[in-house]
């Protein structure tokens, strides 16, 4: 088990490194040198060249990369070309927004998805078909469209929730929750549908296992067969599905943040890509990867822990 954890940690580290290299190369392929981006359209070529020289843009690629890596390890992701702010500081402000969004959406979609999936598998018949149709519809609806409709219904027509904006937790926990509600629901709609399908499939597979018949043959109450034995058997793929969902939702926050004007990582990607702000793009890609890989690692270890076969080995 310890060996397994060590291997996975190493893998996670390698993943982040690969992404860092990838991001570095992508950033270098962006149109316009950093000097040109930083100084804007009116700048003279001399000024641009001088700034490029100053930023080390003309150094060999690998020395630039290792300089960036050295700084990054110490928590310094460079300075934005647009506003001169520290990228690390900016991302540190933004991370909690996206993290609460993604975590909230994952938890909500897990709760709704598992409830729907289990109900569909266990009840069967017409209810199964109704849930199946509903879930199919949810999967097909684009998140941004759902979000706008939610804004229209819950913020414009009846102002239950604020339409846009983000209130930090420290300012007012209640307003924080209210400001998160619509974006979280927006993201959770598709996620819940995905997890519902995964759960239904896993539950049905669990109920096809022969040991379910043994449990019935020893007079195990139905609720116990369903919610202790079958759900336990189905839990492995469900948790794996939730892990995938978190990755998807973390990326999906780009849309929700754009739609609800939330100052999160997604918004940072969107603006920095639009403005060709190289250090910001690189920083946000790496940070997003670190978060996603870390959460994935934790959930993967949880999956392994749930499986007695893997735990024993």
């Amino acid at each position: 088990m310890a060996l397994f954890v060590a291997k996975r940690l190493l893998m996670a580290l390698a993943t982040v490194l690969v992404v860092a290299v990838l991001a570095f190369l992508l950033v270098h392929a962006m149109p316009g040198s950093p000097g040109a981006v930083s100084l804007g359209a009116g700048a003279s070529q001399d000024a641009i060249d001088q700034l490029n020289q100053q930023l080390g843009w003309n150094d060999p690629l690998f020395s630039q990369f290792f300089r960036w890596l050295g700084d990054a390890v110490q928590g310094n992701l460079g300075v934005s070309l647009i506003d001169g702010r520290s990228v690390s500081a900016d991302l540190a402000d933004r991370l909690p927004v996206t993290a609460s969004l993604a975590a909230g959406a994952t938890v909500l979609s897990a709760i709704i998805g598992i409830a729907l999936g289990v109900t569909a598998a266990v009840r069967g018949g017409l209810l199964d078909q109704i849930i199946g149709g509903f879930v199919g519809l949810l999967v097909a609806l684009p998140a941004f469209w759902v979000g706008i409709i939610l804004v229209y219904l819950l913020a414009v027509q009846s102002s239950v929730f604020p339409a846009t904006g983000y209130v930090p937790f420290e300012v007012s926990p209640q307003d924080w929750a209210l400001s998160l509600a619509l974006p979280v629901i927006t993201l959770a709609v598709g996620g819940a549908a995905f997890i519902a399908r995964q759960t239904r499939a896993s539950m049905l597979e669990a109920l096809q296992q022969e040991h379910i018949r043994t449990l019935r043959a020893t007079a195990t109450p139905t609720w116990k067969i369903l919610y202790i034995h079958a759900l336990r058997y189905a839990s492995l793929p469900i948790v794996a599905g939730i892990a995938l969902q978190f990755i998807g939702l973390f990326g999906g926050s780009v849309i929700a943040e754009q739609l609800f004007a939330m100052p999160g990582l997604g918004q940072a990607v969107q603006t920095s890509v639009s403005t060709h702000d190289a250090p910001a793009v690189q920083g946000v890609v790496v940070i997003a990867t670190v978060v996603v890989v870390a959460v994935n690692l934790v959930l993967e270890l949880a999956t392994k822990f749930l499986d007695p076969k893997l735990r024993a080995s």
């Binding site: 950033v27 266990v122 058997y233 990867t289």
Partner: protein
């Protein structure tokens, strides 16, 4: 906005089909697979509608310049932000552009570029999976890489790519395909590996077919359906992602219209013109829905295994059927009159059928006295297991008792509700089955499963149940019970697992044990041990056993009584010694003659007796003797229904009109060959006259 880089399971049955392909279970498919998937596609109304919609969209979009009322950039300042009107069927946007025209103009590009994602993603994923399935080391490397790919924040990376290459939609969609190929790889790999493990692949390797040849000839065709399913799902995801990108401003360069861009425009006017959201959103959702419907319809496995615990809806359905049986007046024939004594199981005229009416077991009767073992013996497809499972009310979904009685302690279990049966199962009647490994819950320890059953069935406290669990394990011959209690089922051997399963069955101190081929999956030395254990348990506890088996040796070893079953009927029953030493029914004669165990090495015949053909399918059962078509002695009298008649040996019964005649004439079932009509001269040069066993059979003795 990337819902997930891994494709969602299309449907429950999609996963079920991939897993069931991995396990070599019996599968019945009548038609060629391609036909089956086409049938599945057209059987689903949603998928047909989806196909029609996609086709219409493509045609409409490609011919758009010919019929669209407006150009995409035509601005109608008289109708800005208008709802649907006669001129603008779907309304206009903030610049007065016709929404209908823009939607269809954008369709071709959206569909086409999503197709790029499909081709790149599914193509790459499939190629990787086929390469990995053939070689372990390659698989380790590729799986590692794809794991990394799947744990990446795909959206963020795609945005960084856009930063580098701009909004070159085809290129971006291709890169998206690469990112998604990891998830497709994972789905396809499982199936490719199960195909690689098929014996026909081994056979092709023996032929000398190269690994590439095997992939192309034997693996790829088997993946076709999965690939199409994944393609449909990825197509849908691709469209959603593309629209999402356009929504946040990374769509195709302006003024080219895109669905995501149009929704983005509409979102700016959600306060003053909410209608604008509707047409584009609906068209996008409909298109995604269509692709998903096609994928789901194709992914549906036609023969998904039935659950061992039916859904609530199915249980309600069954409760109604049981109520109908309970309400039916009990037949007042001679059989049903004397109520059996305590602890005696009496099955009277039992019929079991599929819910659509096909019978699987018809008119089966037998009694099992306390402390005795009854063998239900016959080939597969004869209804032995269905008969046994009906005793516990554990018939699979879609199969139920359709008539007759199962009398136990004065109650008719055939008419008992599931709730009532819960009081019987484990306490009165217990079950052990063929594959002990699969009969135990893999997620819980042996100790947990045993103590839970003991507490439930015997009302014991935790500590007491724990020590009783140990006693039970020792009783079934497990020496280190304390250790076994702490193990999980996968940590013990098959023979040990069957002992545990027997201990579990004994936990409620049942008076009848239903054993469904309990030793078939075990080695012969282990089988002997388990049979000895069962014999000792019968002797010690006085319980009775219904033993389902196909092995006449097992019958000889442990059964007091035996009922030989053929095609859903009992064809002969009586005392084991009488039946095995002096069989009366031609089927029993034939089974014994075909059994190599019945012969010593010294007098091993050069040919074994065989029975022509195979057990008929339940829907093909004739009204007359069901064995007649395969019987050496069949005659015209066998065309009428045959009752069970006294066989003349003890209290045994036999279902054959010629039984007496055969006994008098001392006929044996002869070793026959392929029917003469089919036996043609052998064309190869090997025709040696060594063996010419053309035994001529009197077809009709009468």
């Amino acid at each position: 906005m990337i819902p997930s880089v891994a494709p969602a399971p299309a449907d429950a049955d999609q996963t079920a089909s991939t897993t069931s392909a991995a396990a070599p279970r019996r599968r019945a498919g009548k038609a060629a697979p391609t036909k089956a998937s086409r049938y599945r596609l057209f059987a689903s109304p949603g998928a047909v509608a989806g196909l029609l919609w996609l086709a219409a969209l493509v045609v409409a979009s490609l011919t758009a310049p010919l019929w669209l009322p407006f150009k995409t950039e035509d601005q109608d300042f008289t109708a800005v932000l208008s709802g649907p009107t006669a001129a603008h069927l779907l309304g206009t946007d903030e610049l007065g552009r016709d929404i209908l025209s823009r939607i269809f103009a954008a369709a071709a590009g959206t569909l086409g570029t999503s197709l790029i994602t499909v081709i790149v993603g599914v193509g790459l994923g499939t190629l990787l999976a086929m390469a990995a399935a053939g070689a372990e080391r390659t698989e380790a490397v590729i799986s590692r890489i794809t794991e990394v790919m799947m744990s990446l924040p795909g959206t963020v990376i795609i945005l960084a790519v856009i930063g580098a290459v701009g909004t070159n939609i085809p290129l971006i969609m291709a890169i998206l395909g690469i990112l998604m190929s990891a998830g497709i790889y994972r789905v396809v790999l499982g199936q490719a590996k199960s195909l690689q493990s098929q014996l026909y692949v081994d056979a092709a390797k023996v032929d000398g077919l190269s690994p590439v040849g095997i992939s192309v000839r034997h693996v790829l065709p088997g993946l076709a359906n999965t690939i199409v399913v994944q393609a449909a799902l990825i197509f849908a995801v691709g469209m959603l992602i593309q629209a999402g990108l356009a929504f946040i401003g990374f769509g195709p360069p302006l003024p080219q219209p895109s669905w995501g861009g149009m929704i983005q425009g509409a979102s700016q006017h959600v306060y003053d013109a909410p209608w604008m959201m509707v047409p584009t959103g609906a068209v996008l959702a409909l298109t995604v829905l269509s692709a998903n419907a096609i994928g789901n319809a194709l992914g549906k496995a036609p023969n998904a295994a039935a659950p061992h615990l039916p859904s609530a809806a199915a249980r309600r359905h069954r409760a109604q059927a049981v109520a109908a049986i309970a309400a039916a007046p009990a037949p007042k024939d001679a059989d049903a009159q004397e109520a059996p004594g305590n602890g005696t199981l009496s099955v009277r005229n039992l019929s079991v059928g599929v819910d659509n009416g096909v019978g699987l077991v018809t008119g089966v009767s037998f009694d099992v006295a306390p402390g005795t073992v009854l063998g239900l013996v016959g080939e597969s497809g004869c209804g032995k297991t269905m008969t046994a499972l009906s005793l516990l009310g554990l018939l699979p979904s879609g199969v139920s008792v359709s008539g007759g009685q199962i009398l136990w302690n004065g109650r008719n279990l055939a008419a008992a509700t599931d709730k009532d049966m819960e009081g019987i199962r484990g306490r009165d009647i217990a079950l052990i089955s063929q594959e002990p490994m699969r009969a135990l819950d893999p997620m819980f320890t042996v100790g947990y499963q045993l103590t839970a059953a003991i507490r439930r069935l015997r009302g014991m406290g935790k500590a007491e149940a724990r020590s009783e669990a140990r006693n039970l394990l020792e009783k079934v011959g497990i020496v280190d019970a304390q250790r076994i209690l702490k193990t999980y089922p996968h940590q013990i051997s098959g023979g040990m697992a069957q002992r545990v399963a027997i201990a579990l069955a004994l936990s409620g101190q049942p008076r009848l044990l239903v054993a469904d081929e309990p030793t078939t999956a075990l080695d012969v030395t282990v089988q002997a041990e388990i049979l000895s254990l069962l014999r000792a348990l019968v002797k010690d506890t006085g319980m009775s056993v219904v033993m389902v088996t196909h092995d006449l040796g097992v019958v000889a070893d442990i059964c007091d009584q035996v009922a030989v079953m053929y095609a859903g009927q009992v064809v002969e029953n009586g005392k084991t010694a009488a039946i095995l030493d002096n069989p009366r029914h031609p089927y029993t004669l034939a089974l014994l003659a075909a059994d190599p165990h019945a012969n010593d090495a010294d007098n091993m015949p050069e040919r074994l007796a065989t029975i022509q053909g195979q057990v008929p399918q339940p829907k093909d059962w004739p009204t007359g003797c069901r064995f007649a078509a395969r019987c050496q002695f069949a005659g015209s009298a066998c065309k009428d229904p045959v009752p069970l008649l006294a066989s003349g040996t003890g209290e045994g019964l036999v279902r054959c009109v010629k039984a007496d005649q055969l006994a008098v004439e001392g006929m044996d079932w002869l070793a026959t060959d392929v029917p003469a009509a089919r036996l043609l001269p052998i064309s190869s040069q090997h025709t040696t006259a060594a063996h010419q066993h053309t035994t001529v059979i009197e077809k009709d003795l009468a």
